[in-house]
Amino acid sequence: MKRRILSVLVMVIVLVMLLVACGDKKDPVTTEKPDTPSTDSSSGGEVKPSVEPIRVGVVTTLSGSNSGHGEYAKEGAELAKKQINEAGGILGRPLEIIYEDNGETEQSYVNAAVKALSSDDVCAVYSNGYSSQIELVLPQAQKYGIPYIGGNSSHALLEKDYTYYWMLRLSDRYVSPAMVNACVELGMKNPAILHVTDSYGVGMADYVEQAIGEIEGMTVAARIGVGDNEQQFSPYLTQIMNSDADGIIAIQHQDQAALVMMQVDAMAIDLPLMGCSQYASALAIDTAGETANGWYSLADWTVQTNTETGKAFVDAYRAAYNRDPDMQSVTAYDSMYLLKDAIERAGSDDPDAINKVLGETKDLPGAMTTYTFQGDNSLGTTIFLVQTENLQGTLKGLVTR
């Protein structure tokens, strides 16, 4: 009996080890399929319901452990839809959003994105997926000829010549030098870099390291990459504390960012702390609680935004949902207005026409930033330097590309 048990056990462990070696997964045990798409066709009173709507796909996480991201994104997109339709729609037609749940795995993300791209009459798709996920579906967006707007920021995707891909945020290539400059102002000369090892984390860490190398007298004390399913950061923080680092630059997604903040606090680390945009996200701050206070971040979004469009968005969002908007909300919101602007300039919802005029976007005021075509299919132009105080990102400065 024991030999049989041992055989079964060894087989299971070897199989799991093979899975570990084959690549990182978001969650090794969850294989939820995407939900059936739900169509919300409610429109405001200003648009005639008999008119054919303009359909936009939104691919986001509506189930699983990251569903909080999707909830914020959906709220942002819905707020934009409500405002647009109440103001007469786009070219007199109501905006309709088709949601696809990308689940928790890369496979389910691809399934959801392809479903959105192949839906009838969808003129564009927005997704707040991770860079590594979006990268997988860009060949499909190219094949279908549908503009695919990403809420991600990995510059590597801009270098791959996908003409139907549009990056809403300022790319990491431009954020990283600004982040390093801010670190210098915090007194860092020998910071350690702790980053996630996916496309986003590695790409941004490379740019940060490059920017550090360009500053005289500044060096990298340690660079530690961890998988995107890592939850225990104490061994890495221990190594950083023993590396003569005089500060920490951390690049993670929201859940990991929360854990890093919690574990830095648990270890009573008293160093200047700089995080990527995710460290100022509402999701990370909600999870990390008081331990988020004190962290600096180069954030795409803060509710303390100083632009009129941004302030109006915050007020409308609070009124609609009784909570503060997250970065996921504002990127989804702005993407709907970006498409509205493009469709109106194109004079139709033909995907090719929209794609063409997206490349002519100039000085479009959004809630997050002002959008201007940058020559590399990125549209964002600014980013905020914030410090988390009393569980909110306090605006410390604005960095322009």
Binding site: M1, K2, R3, R4, I5, L6, V8, L9, V10, V12, I13, V14, V16, M17, V20, A21, D24, D27, P28, V29, T30, S63, G64, S65, S67, G68, T197, I224, G225, V226, G227, N229, E230, Q231, Q232, S234, P235, Y236, T238, Q239, M241, N242, D255, A258, L259, M262, Q263, A266, M267, A268, T287, A288, G289
Partner: protein, 292 residues
């Protein structure tokens, strides 16, 4: 040579090893008692974390009250688990039946937890806050020392139960030969239920210990793999081997981060394979001959 760094990594590794040891002990107890590998052990561990989260954060119970209530819940759950997953299938002619039953139970537990607490991870506050500063940057979190302390107590208690107490000997006797034990007046249904209760309570407490270090989520169930690895390295069916093997896994995992962060799990399982090649029965396992 940075002694401070190695000392800190050793403490972190030993504390995580304690968690794996608690998991592995729970598995070994069931293997010895009923000859079944419980693949739902990781989910019982996860459930322990969620139950303690609910009692502490949602119901605001003080720690002493919480521990008593949690232990009662683990006792109840261990009993329910045995009667739902093992007892109806104990006489099945196909040995894998109960293993598959435990696999099914692991899925059910995970989904039930998602239904109750949702799929978004939740946060359990630290049981003990603060760090012990030894010198310079050498600092050890009290939380890790607490895990080592409680883990040692639990391990000692299990050893005492089986080596010194009549109850433990009766449980071992029933596990080795239930027919002979019944002839001697030992009620096997009680000893089996006790084994399930002890196993569920052990991993439940393990879940509570580890929950402040991680986000409380369904992914905590994946800790089971390290417990399995520790058990196999130590020797299947041997409690002492499971403890030592698990501590080894924790320490290897911790020191592996010096060389690789992404593939530290692969390092652990590579060691497992090497041990199996060199010593297939594990460090403390004995060669078992199949009886005809």
């Amino acid at each position: 040579m940075n002694i401070g760094l190695y000392l800190q990594l050793l403490v972190i590794g030993l504390s995580m090893g304690m968690i794996y040891a608690i998991l592995a002990m729970g598995i070994v107890l069931l293997v010895r008692a009923v000859g079944v590998l419980n693949f739902a052990q990781g989910e019982l561990f996860m459930l322990g974390a969620y139950v303690c989260y609910a009692l502490t954060v949602q119901l605001h119970m003080p720690i002493y009250v919480m521990l008593i209530v949690a232990l009662l819940i683990f006792v109840l759950f261990g009993t329910l688990f045995m009667f739902a997953v093992y007892w109806p299938l104990r006489n099945s002619k196909w040995p894998a039946t109960i293993i598959i039953s435990t696999l099914g139970a692991s899925v059910v537990l995970k989904e039930v937890v998602k239904l109750i607490w949702g799929s978004v991870p939740v946060v359990q506050p630290p049981i003990i806050k603060g760090v012990l500063v030894l010198w310079g940057n050498v600092r050890i979190e009290y939380q890790y020392l607490f895990i080592i302390g409680i883990g040692s107590l639990l391990i000692t208690a299990v050893f005492l139960l089986f080596d010194k107490l009549f109850l433990g000997r009766a449980m071992q006797a029933a596990a080795q030969d239930s027919y002979a034990a019944q002839l001697l007046g030992i009620p096997t249904i009680v000893t089996t239920a006790l084994t399930y209760i002890i196993s569920a309570s052990l991993v439940g407490v393990g879940g509570w210990l580890v929950s402040p270090l991680f986000l409380v989520s369904t992914s905590l169930g994946s800790f089971l793999l390290k417990g399995f690895a520790g058990m196999v390295i130590g020797g299947l069916g041997d409690v002492k081997g499971a403890v030592i093997g698990s501590l080894l896994v924790g320490v290897i995992e911790s020191f592996a981060t010096l060389f690789t962060a992404t593939y530290k799990d692969a390092v652990v399982f590579s060691v497992l394979i090497i041990v199996l090649i060199v010593r297939p029965t594990g460090f403390f396992g004995q060669k078992i001959s199949e009886k005809v």
